[in-house]
């Protein structure tokens, strides 16, 4: 089979899909052409003052019938043509269609007056379509063949070798024997054909080149993202391994596998586990944020925000009781679920609620308000903890930001938390803002207030076909 397109196009699924669609479109278009031919053959005489001879009627009738049968067979053939390299593919089918169409058109032109036939303008229409699909070399060859065929027909009819079938009524005098007319008509036709093919082919070629650039860029992007993801996971694995091993060893001791030990040691080992958990959480957050940024992958499910907040509060129960924090969790009655990724939203809200609890002193207040509005839910998480200094409030969502006043607090943190929260909220088409002092601030404790707005519906933005590859295997 002749190779009609470069290899990169052959590998482009979108190209084949559009080609298949175009082939079907041509078949549909041909049915319209059949109706038009039928009208031309039998009905046009009734409307305008033209006349076809019996032989013209019959031959146009036969061509129309052939076109009909041929089009029906194309309809069934197209389904069986697969995009297999080296075999008869949809592109070959397009070429066959153009060649058969042009042959039939040539016959029609011969039967309707050669150079006098207005139908020869349809050549240009065919060649424009061909230029969009076929490579330059093929379509120029076809265009030159068409010009030569048209010239040959005109010449043979001019010298009287070939029979001339005139459509009575179109021209008052015989034009095909008028050399000035024949030459002018052929020159304009030839020029128009070449210019049309040249321009269309150039535009189509440019489009293909742009598509190739996009295709290459996407491929490169996929590769580098994949490499980056593997690299980050590899590095993080290296960092996590010793920590995980240390924690496994301490757990061994704490679980009594190595015998008894004093309560003082138990206390210190438990403290070590808390600190190790902090670093593990930090590492996990880095991994989550990388994955979120690199893969842009999220699921869309019905998420019950109220339930999610209750679950998070339940997980933090111990700290809330221990620090005697007054907790207010209020939701408006018109509660409803929203579309989103539950795991990611839970991660975001645990960070925000966890921070509120962490940075609130003993006997402080944490207040969570969920108001269900028409298109979105507004959740406000307020505390009267240490607050955020005014000059730093703009930086809180930056990567690795930790408020300068947070150091005096005993808890450690990674600083990736709020950046990740913002990322997740944005991925859900929502917004997040922060104010400090909060509405429940006290004289000593300004506290902070985070306002999150999440729309109920999650519009899908990532392109199905262009999803990044997920690293196979694991680390």
């Amino acid at each position: 089979m002749i190779k009609l397109v470069p290899e990169w196009i052959e590998r482009n699924d979108e190209f084949w899909l559009s080609l298949k669609r175009r082939n079907l479109f041509f078949i549909k278009l041909r049915f319209i052409a059949i109706v038009m031919l039928f009208t031309f053959n039998y009905l046009l005489e009734l409307i305008v003052n033209i006349e076809l001879s019996e032989i013209q009627h019959n031959s146009i009738g036969i061509i129309t019938l052939f076109l009909f049968v041929y089009n029906l067979s194309l309809l069934s053939i197209r389904k069986r043509v697969k995009n297999i390299r080296g075999s008869f593919n949809p592109l070959h089918l397009s070429l066959v269609q153009i060649l058969v169409d042009l042959t039939l058109l040539t016959l029609l032109i011969i039967m309707t007056g050669g150079i006098e036939s207005p139908l020869y303008l349809f050549y240009i229409f065919h060649l424009i379509i061909g230029s969009l699909i076929l490579p330059g070399g093929v379509i120029y060859t076809i265009a030159i063949a068409v010009i030569l065929a048209m010239s040959l027909i005109s010449y043979l009819q001019f010298i009287g070798t070939a029979p001339h079938f005139c459509v009575t009524g179109i021209y008052k005098t015989e034009m095909y024997t008028n050399p000035e007319y024949v030459i002018t008509a052929l020159l304009s036709f030839g020029l128009m054909t070449i210019v049309s093919v040249f321009l269309t082919n150039r535009i189509a070629h440019q489009l293909y080149l742009n598509e190739k650039k996009l295709y290459d860029a996407l491929k490169e992007l996929n590769n580098s993202e994949l490499k980056k993801q593997k690299y980050i996971m590899g590095v993080v694995h290296e960092i996590k391994s010793p920590i995980a091993a240390t924690k496994s060893i301490i757990s061994l001791i704490l679980d009594g596998f190595l015998g008894e030990f004093s309560s003082k040691i138990d206390q210190k080992l438990n403290r070590a586990v808390v600190r190790l958990n902090e670093s593990l959480e930090m590492i996990n957050n880095i991994l989550r944020i990388s994955r979120l940024r690199l893969l842009d992958e999220k699921t869309s499910e019905d998420v019950d925000i109220n339930k999610l907040i209750d679950e998070i509060l339940d997980l933090n129960k111990e700290s809330i009781i221990k620090k005697r924090i007054k907790l207010k969790n209020i939701s408006s009655n018109n509660f409803r679920t929203l579309k989103g990724d539950e795991v990611l939203l839970k991660l975001a809200f645990s960070n925000l609620i966890g921070n509120a609890i962490k940075y609130t002193n003993r006997n402080g207040t944490v207040s969570i308000n969920s108001i269900y509005e028409k298109n979105s839910v507004k959740i406000t998480i307020c505390d009267n903890g240490i607050g955020i200094p005014q000059n730093e409030i703009k930086k809180v969502f930056d990567n690795y930001y930790r408020a300068s006043n947070s150091n005096k607090n005993n808890d450690e943190g990674s600083g990736v938390g709020l950046s990740l929260v913002k990322e997740i909220i944005h991925q859900h088409r929502g917004s997040i803002s922060v104010t400090s002092p909060s509405s429940i601030s006290t004289e000593k404790n300004p506290g902070a207030s985070f306002k999150i707005i999440l729309p109920y519906g999650l519009k899908k933005i990532s392109l199905e076909n262009n999803k990044f590859l997920v690293v196979k295997g694991g680390v």
Binding site: H237, K240, A245, G474, V475
Partner: protein, 122 residues
């Protein structure tokens, strides 16, 4: 007494696993070398294999698990992973990789014993 072969390049993890499983009356053989681990499995025909997913090279554990399955060794395999769950790569056991279950590091003794007992009973 059931025999468990543990293959991991981290000696501390090997030791911890050994201690936990021995305390639950399992006989344990450990090795930090995948090649040695492979011959140990062939030779001793254990009741369970514990494999770390990433040893010297990423996916070493997967390759080894696949090698066992290709050679018709049907011994249950428990795989140690480090970050797969965190990043949401929860593999369906037996689907992508021919293993029976996963344990995420750091190892929790309760989880490990529970999973080992379940797989050996099976």
């Amino acid at each position: 007494m059931s025999l468990v072969v543990v293959i991991d390049d981290d000696h501390d993890i090997l030791e911890a696993t050994e201690l936990i499983l021995q305390a639950s009356n399992f006989e344990v053989i450990t090795t930090d070398n995948p090649t040695k681990g492979y011959s140990l499995v062939k030779e001793k025909n254990p009741d369970l294999i514990i494999l770390d997913v990433m040893m010297e090279e990423p996916d070493d554990g997967f390759f080894l698990a696949q090698k066992f399955r290709r050679e018709g060794i049907k011994t249950p395999i428990l795989m140690y992973t480090s970050i797969s769950k965190t990043v949401g790569m929860e593999f369906g056991a037996g689907e992508m990789v021919p293993v029976d279950d996963f344990v995420e590091k750091p190892i929790s003794s309760d989880e490990l014993i529970k999973k080992v007992k379940f797989l050996i009973k099976k």
